[in-house]
Symmetry: C2
Subunit: 261 residues, 2 copies
């Protein structure tokens, strides 16, 4: 099987023009097949502020009302996605920007929750791995915005980390998949205040020990739990680390590698 890197780029990098450009330069130089999933950054929040659309949060999660959906569709699938695609094209990477509705690559439904109405938020039913493979095999590099749609054509705001993870899992049927979460941190830190305390290799046993000793930063736990779930669904490695060192991340020479081995 050929190699495929599924790479998530975090919001803080997207907000920084120079960092984004440098990241995209590294991304375009990756020789294996690749897919990029991008978050939204602060642009959507800024635009909502300017337009006077109030953002409601429940348990730290943004509620997506109709006006907010319009804003995130414009910002994520329009402004950010097309800027990334056009920059990659100028760097000789044959990028194609997609949301979940395009070529039906992600099937989703509006989130159902017993007590909270999240609004137009999507949970993923299925990744169309055959279609993504077809695009990749024809020489294209999919750049995916975190907007999906349901079977009735309703657009839905969808978590980019989850999209990356589900794509990595589904593509494992056809490729040796590495899933890379790249952001502004150096990796999973033993001490959240010390960027030099990066855990180089995290096995499930070591992770259990760390959780028992409550040494893992609480905010990282869902990300790491998801990483192990991905490993159990066929993904070879999950790597978490600094977006400014993308090539080193891919070569496993920096960041945190999460593995079952």
């Amino acid at each position: 099987m050929e190699n495929l890197d599924v790479i998530k780029i975090g919001g803080n990098i997207i907000d920084d023009e120079k960092k984004l450009s440098s990241f995209l330069q590294s991304f375009s130089s990756i020789q294996s097949h690749k897919i990029l999933i991008h978050g939204g950054g602060r642009l959507a929040t800024k635009l909502a502020d300017t337009l006077g659309v109030q953002q409601r949060l429940i348990d730290g999660r943004r509620i997506t009302d109709a006006e907010t959906l319009k804003i995130v569709t414009m910002v994520y699938a329009g402004f950010i996605n097309k800027n990334i695609v056009s920059q990659l094209q100028s760097k000789n990477c044959n990028a194609i920007g997609l949301c979940g509705a395009d070529a039906n690559i992600i099937q989703a439904h509006k989130r159902i929750h017993p007590s909270i109405d999240y609004g137009f938020v999507g949970d993923i039913d299925k990744i169309n791995a055959v279609q993504l493979k077809q695009l990749i095999n024809s020489g294209l590099t999919p750049i995916i915005a975190p907007i999906t749609s349901d079977a009735e054509g309703q657009l839905l705001n969808t978590n980019a980390d989850t999209i990356a993870q589900e794509i990595a899992k589904a593509m494992s049927e056809y490729y040796n998949v590495q899933l890379i979460f790249s952001f502004e941190k150096s990796g999973v830190l033993l001490d959240v205040n010390d960027e030099n305390s990066v855990i180089k290799k995290l096995t499930s046993q070591y992770y259990l020990e760390l959780k028992t000793n409550t040494k893992i930063f609480a905010g990282m736990i869902p990300k790491i739990d998801n990483a192990f779930a991905a490993l159990n669904s066929g993904v070879k490695k999950v790597i978490i680390g600094n977006a400014q060192k993308l090539n080193d991340l891919i070569n496993n020479s920096t960041g945190t590698t999460i593995t079952n081995e």
Copy 2:
């Protein structure tokens, strides 16, 4: 050669949710290969007003400054494009939304003009017909937003009529192409105030006669001149008419058919 319908949908239809939905229903039922190019409607202007971004016009043409470019990228390539794609997917049409940068389907450059600085406006250098053919042959229906980019990755606002025409011309190498301009009017009218005065068939000779007798509405002349240019570049037929009668337009049973025969 197989048939391909290249269809431009005008802005006024996009602004009307019911008319758009009915148009997309007809579009999805077209059996031959098809490409849709959409304009922008009034949404971009409305958003610019709300954001306090002043629109400058020179000779009736919108000047695209950096802020306006951001708005049209968000509205055309984000909101409108993804809404059309998700609706078509729900109607069993395997749509894929693209701007010119995606898969490098349109190469453009920033407009050079001796006296007017149009800002970030794109003129088309080349249509990547091979790539569009590949997408179509793999079962996808391209839905194209009027945003392109130059070789340096600069996004550019680009006329949707021109994109439709250039795509129709380029695709004529591989398909029997019909180019359809669909909008809120019934076709090319002999009397601009009488929707029943549609010219059914317009040959170059008849067109010359009408121009000599100044019977053609001045606003239609550039559209018709472009139509004849397309016919001279391999396009089989150009059809102009009402978007609410798309299936009849495609079958040549309504609207104005412009032909060299």
